[in-house]
Every structure is written in structure tokens, then in C-alpha cells.
Amino acid sequence: MVAALTLDRISKRYGGFQAVSDLSFEVEKGTICGFLGPNGAGKTSTLRMILGLQSATSGQIEILGADDGRKVRDRIGFLPEERGLYKKMTPVDAIAFFGGLKGVPASEGRKRAREMLTQMGLGDAQKKKMKELSKGMAQKVQLIASVVHRPEFVILDEPFSGLDPMNQQGLEAMIRALAADGATVLFSTHVMQHAERLCDKVVLLARGKKAFEGTVDQARATSPRFLELEGALDVAAVAALPGVSGVEVLNIHDGACTLRAGLTPGAGGQEALKSAFLSGLDVRRFQIKEPTLHDAFIALTGDHPDEDQSIARDALKAEAAR
């Protein structure tokens, strides 16, 4: 497949602080790629470099055949992490304005705005001012504003943050629709479930470095399976079962507990279960679970995807700036 985006050993340094290190990956045309990592991992810096908003300290970026995102900005749609639109504008005006900046004539921009707002269930809000809309509605308007010019490449920075589950579902559908129409989508998130459902490919980033690049299945395969056991169980006895690498207590209730036993690579779990029954452990319920992307992230990076690395990294960045 042809690459719509190629990053070749990209690094970004703010003073003495290394935000992104030697990052390389590709996104093929017409695919959905998840750019995953905890807050502060370097995702936004990377996206800004792809867009040409910030220059890379070293390395090469090629997007839609150009060596600078600014040269093809009319073919790119961008939804930033921190969102906002002109509060006194109506959604139609705001969408038409941003479409105009991308070369869509005003009348066409307004027409598309009305159609897309109706499709997104915001037909009644067309004439309201942005400040009168709920956060979820405003976020939809901004998303429409970022794709009204029908871009070939869509970059979404944490698009799901701040949305309720219903709107998150709607956004997932919209991302799928964009890809189905031939657009390439790169979105960053620290919530792995979205990526699991949507992505053809994921790139995992931790502390500015790439930890993994591949499909979701390939990512999951890097993490062992789990055996979930429920009953009046002794943690040490479970830990001693064959093929078990470690045990985590998920909850304890009325003398019974739920344990999550990590399996060693290659272990299927059947041997551990057989041993548990033979040794008379009080197993009332059991389940062999495939690893999630979340598990894979922890296994690959040693970090937790929900932890906020931005605080420590911002402090380092500020220190570097000084």
C-alpha cells in the first residue's frame, strides 16, 4: 500500500528537554491509525510537527507527498486537543469560515455545513450561537469544521475526550465513514478501547519514544493471556500454579475473591486450571481472557496508558526552557 504519511527518525527537543526521540512510522492511505500513549507522551508535539506547526529538531516527515504539512494544509483536516470555536458565530458560519480557509467557496461551505450538521443530529442547532451549544454539540461542530473541505488526511488529537458514551459512538461512526470515503485518519488517544475498535494500525508512544507499531492483533500478541478465577482462593496457591507468572487481586467479597493470574508467554491456561482443580482449590468460576490493547501497552512500555506523564514532562520542559 502507498504511505500517506511517513515519519523518519523524528526528534523534537525543547531546550534541554527531549519531547520526541527518533520516532519513525508510516500510515497507509485510506487506513485508520491510532497514535496511542499517555498524556504527555509526545503525541501532540508529533502531530504538530506533522502539520508543520512546529519544526522537528531532526528527521524527515512526508505527508501526502510533501515534505512539510503546511504545503498540503488544504488537503489535511485537523481537530486539535484543546478545542474552541468563535462563541458568537453560528455553527453554519463557523464551519463555512474554516472551510473557506481550506479553499471551499462560502456558499458551498454553508451548504455542506447544513447537510453535515443535519447528518450529525444538529439540524436544530444551525442558527444558534456556539456559546449556546452543549460541549458535545460544539465538539461535533468542530469536527465537522475540520473535515468540511473533504480532506485526504484527517488528524484528530484526542477526539474522544470530553464526549459522553453516546457521542463517542457517533464519533467512532464518523471516523469509520471518513475512512470508508477514502480518507486516511490518524488519531491520538490515551483510551485504548477506541483504538481497539477502530484502528487498522496502532503506534504506541511512551516518554517520547515509539514502543510499538503494527495491527491491534499484533499488539495484543505481545502480551500474555490471563486466567481469571473466582472463589475462596489463596493468592499464594494460585501463584504456584503451573504457567502462572503473577497474580492480581481484582476484588474480595463475602470471603470470595476474584483473582487475575497472568500467564507466561506460550501458556494456554488449561494446565493451570487442571492443576487448580486437582489440588482442590475452591474455584467457583473461571475464564481464560485474551489480552487487551491496554494490557499490551503495559507489557510493551511498562507504563500505564491512563497515567499522566504530562505533569512531569511539562516540569522538565519548563526547566529546559529556563
Binding site: L53, R73, Y86, S146
Partner: protein
Amino acid sequence: MNRTLLIAHREFMAYARTVGFWLSLLAFPLFGALGGAIPIMMKHAEPARTVALVQAAPAGSGLAEAVRQSLENEQARGDISALRMAAIPEAGVAGGDRVRQVAETEGYQAGIAALKREAPRAGASFKAPRPNLTLVAPPAELVSAAPGEAQDAMARRYLGDDALEGEKLSAVVFLTDANGQPGARVWTARATDDAVEDAIRDALKDANRRQVFAAGGIDPAVVEQTDRFRPDMAVFSPKARSGGEVSFRDKLPTVVGLAVGFILWSLIITGASILLNSVMEEKSNKILEVLLSSASATEILTGKVLGVALLTLTVLFAWGGLGGIGLIAAAPDVARDIGSVLMSNGLLIYFLLFMVGGYLMYAVLFAAIGAFCETPRDAQTLMGPIMMVLVAPLLVMQMAIRTPDATVVKVMSLIPPFTPFVMAARAPSGPPLIEIVGALIGMFLFAALMVWVAGRAFRAGALSDVKLNWKSFIGAVRGGG
């Protein structure tokens, strides 16, 4: 429409669509007109006060007559002054002075004839100002009442709300002349109304002066003639347009220069402040990053600067147009003189260039500062010192009227950040062309530097969360994002 124009259009419309913009656009001329009209309307609406003069002991001193004469003289002076003022818009200051001279020497009616000659339109519609005070004969019972409490009680009756219609007085003045010192006890219907008190005080001073002069053997006619004397003076200068006598027209350019300097200062600072607030709003609403993904920092900055410039020009043309129409209607000669000043020696072109350069310098700087700030408090660190520096040209501009060649004025006019204001005030006095051209070149070079500096700072600031201070600002300029 390209991106720059689209951003300029949005910027313009964002303000032009607000009710506040139109209110402020109309408020200035409206309040200006009201400011001029209200005192006149109040003067016309003010009822003439009926005043009774009562000569207290010693009778026959003639004080009442002297005061009456003095009040009438004052009224006549007011009428003559009104004739002069009515003539000035149409016939200029010299014409007004001629009318006054005729009225003073040949009488009021001759003054009206002179007004009709000098300023036919004003003469046709001239109405003499209404007198403040109307002297009426005091009621007999008031005059015959015993001095002291009885007379005071009687005065209360004529001033009170219960007085009969047609008998009610605004004030009763008991004149005293004890030991040759004119004095008065003034009873007024309203305790806060000091118009009668002031008029009587002036009249008594005048009466006393006449008495003193008369006691010294000086003929009252001589006193009156002396009062009326106005020295016939003329000022000459080799730089006057006539090559000799200095006229109002010769002084007008410096007045116009100062006015333009102040107007430029207000417009530029207002425009730049609008831009600062607009960028701050976009920064706080997280719009700048979206804009930067759709247009270059230069396009955004240029578009915003252009949009606010159009807004500022709209205000300038609206106010200038209304002011011009008002001036042409009220004082066509003055309007013509101002027009000829602006058109002479390329002044209008200089003023326009000073406006463009000045606006460019400050607008881009303020926009760059705004890109780092989400609240006015954030901007305070940099804006405080800048505004303090900006007060300096206001002080120096006033010096430019009397001493346009003073060293401090010259130097300030050549310092690029001050050039738009100080050179605008200085230019009408005819400084060497090389200084004006040099100042313009310096200003535009500095403006170009500011555009470059602000462009880098704007781009860095728009994506930065760094707290604004001089160090971070300079760092952003050096780093350029």
C-alpha cells in the same frame, strides 16, 4: 477569497455586527452634539429672573441706579459678544472683531447691520440672547416696609410659593451703602441659585469703581471709554502666508497637526488594543491552533491587522465625515481653511503614512503579546511598560505647537515608535523635508522589523502555554517557535 482576506472579513464582521460597535460609533458624535447643544438649550430654557432692587438707607445715594446701569451695561456686552460669535463661523475672527467694534462704537443696531454685511446668513437668523435678569419695580409695600425684619418678612412673601401670580419675584436685592461701601442683602426664591448673587456682586464692584473714580474727580464718561478700549494690535512674522501679518490661518496648521497627532494616537492605540483583545480571545478559546493549521502565522496576523484596520478606518471616516459635515454647516470658512491646511505641502499624505506605519508597528506588537495571553491580566506584564512609554509623545506633542524646533521635539519625532504622533504634530510647522522623509523611512523600517519580530512571537505564542514575561517573549522571538 484568499485566507488573509477571509480572516480580515471575519475580524471586521465580528465587531461590525455587534450592537456595541454601532452604539460607540454613534455615541461620540451624538455626545459631541449634545455636549454643544445642551448648554445652549439650557440657556434658552432657563426662565428670566425677575429681580427687584430696593435702595436701603441712605436714600438718594443713587446706588440702585448705578447697579441698574451696570447690569444693563453687562447685558449690552453680552449682546455684542453674541454678535461677534455669530459672525466668526462665516466671516472669520477678523470679521467678528469688526462687528464687535462697530457695535461698541456705534451701538447695538449698527452692530446688527455690520453683522448682516459681514455674515449675511448669520445676520438673517441672529437673535439677541435672552437676558438673565429682568429688573422690575419693587412693590410699594416692600419699599415702605421698615428696614430689618419687616422688610425681610415682606421679601419672603414675594419670593414664596404662595405669592400671587404676576407678583412673584425671583429675587429681592436690598442695596446698602453704609460708609460709602456698596453692599447688598440678596433674597432669592431658590437657595441654590447664585445667578442673581453673581450679577449683583459684579454690578456692585463696578458701581464702587465708578464711585471711587468719581470721588477722585474722574469723569464717568472717561471711565466708560477706558473700559471699552481695546488695543489695536497686529502680529507679524516673515513666515506668515502673507509674508507679514499673522492671521488665524497661519496658526491653524499647528492646531491641525496637534489634533491629528492626538487622533492618530487614539486611533492607533484603540485599534491595537482591539487586536490584542481579539487575539487573546482566540487564544483563550483555543481557536488559534485551528487557525494555524489552516493558514500561516503571517496570513493570520496580516488578516487580523487588516480587519481591525478596516474597522478603525470605518470609525475614522464615520467620525471624520460627521465632524466635517457639522463643521461645514456651522463654520464653512474654518472648514475650508482646515481643508486647505490638510491639502497643503503634502500634509494629508504624511498623515496617512504616519497612520499606516504607526498602526502597523503597534498592531502587530499588541497581536503578538495577545498570542501569549488568555486574560488581560496576563498581558499586563508587557502592556504596562509599553503604555507608560506611549504617554511620552502625548506630552511632547503639546510642545510642538509653540516650539516645533525644540531639540526634544525634534529627537522624539525621529524615534520610530514616536514618529507617527510627534512628527504628525510637527509636520505642519514646516520642518526640513529631509527630517520628514528620514522619519518616515525610519518608521517603516522599524515597522518592518516589528512585523518580523511579532510574526515570530505570534507563531510561538499561539502554541505556547508559557507564562508571558519579557524573557519568554524575547525567547520566542529568538526561537521563532
